[in-house]
Subunit: 139 residues, 3 copies
């Protein structure tokens, strides 16, 4: 049993950019030489999230539209008073969706549905340099 | 320290069917012979979710009603254009809630509140054959 | 590789009290003598949640305001019929946000963004005695 640590980095294109990371996670499992375990994928930062989605253009519009209902861009946020920032909605959406997920792997294969992809979603209002932590635990 | 892998399968009854899986998880801990660790419960597929809830009839109505506010059945989804599908709302709700959770166990007992149950929620628009992955890591 | 179990307890101040637990988690990593791994933070109970947030007064108002859109206090919940309770909204919000998160640690340090804090959020309608489970797995 061991722990394997990997970080992946990229620059997001701004608000609601959905970045697939399934291949990077599978490559990390390959590198780790582990057979069975879990991957904990985590974003350090409070304006992004990690989840799964069927990665097709329609849902890349539908999901942000639904999140807009919870935290619309048109309303005022108390967060803007504190920091003279414009991303109150980004923080709210990130806290509701959470900073990461854990996914099992077995026989060296990440487990997921045929069309289900692991994704990072940029919720901040501008492009950001992002770092995703992959912590593998297994044997 | 070891990894124990189990899959549970069932047929859901369709949209908003909430299926308790607490007993199945405890039985899997018993089988594993582990004392302490975590269970990662994960659904492969992008139209279901796993969470916890007080498992009583009222909340089985209240939770779907609240999710309907985020992704109503009455609006059009871009996803429907892509695949001529009818389950855009299912995908959106599943991505927001996430594909799984991790729960600790200690002294061979799954940790949860007295009325807090672990559940799978069918978010798709029709009955589905479902598979839940339970990946236990512990000692 | 080992498992380290810790429980932290406190009394919440009531609905929407956001309690920082980042320091307690780091102290638990220190105690465990582990170098690398993950922390699974979990609340036993179905009316609270654990997530991350930039911990400043503005967002402590913005996040509850957004959750109020999903599960408003003004509507009736079927849960109230079952138990003559008043906290249907609490249950709904807790199920959507989930009962816990997993966070990686590396070189004895919990990984998180500079202003990103780990928090418990009281969603119940009254002050509660709360217990948070921290299950560390690593080496």
């Amino acid at each position: 049993m061991t722990v394997y640590h990997k970080e992946i980095s990229f620059r997001s294109k701004g608000e609601n950019h959905i970045v697939g990371i399934t291949d990077e996670i599978q490559e990390t499992i390959d590198e780790s030489k582990m057979e069975n375990g879990i991957v904990c994928a985590f974003v350090p930062g409070s304006t992004g999230t990690i989840t799964t989605i069927e990665y097709e253009p329609g849902l890349q519009k539908d999901l942000p539209d639904a999140l807009e209902k919870i935290a619309p861009r048109s309303i005022e946020y108390a967060h803007h008073q504190t920091w003279h920032d414009d991303n109150g909605r980004s923080h709210v959406k990130a806290s509701i969706m959470g900073p990461g997920i854990s996914i099992p792997f077995q026989n060296k294969q990440l487990i997921h549905g045929t069309w289900q992809q692991i994704v990072f979603i940029e919720l901040d209002t501008r492009p950001r340099n992002r770092r995703i932590i992959l912590q593998l635990i297994g044997e």
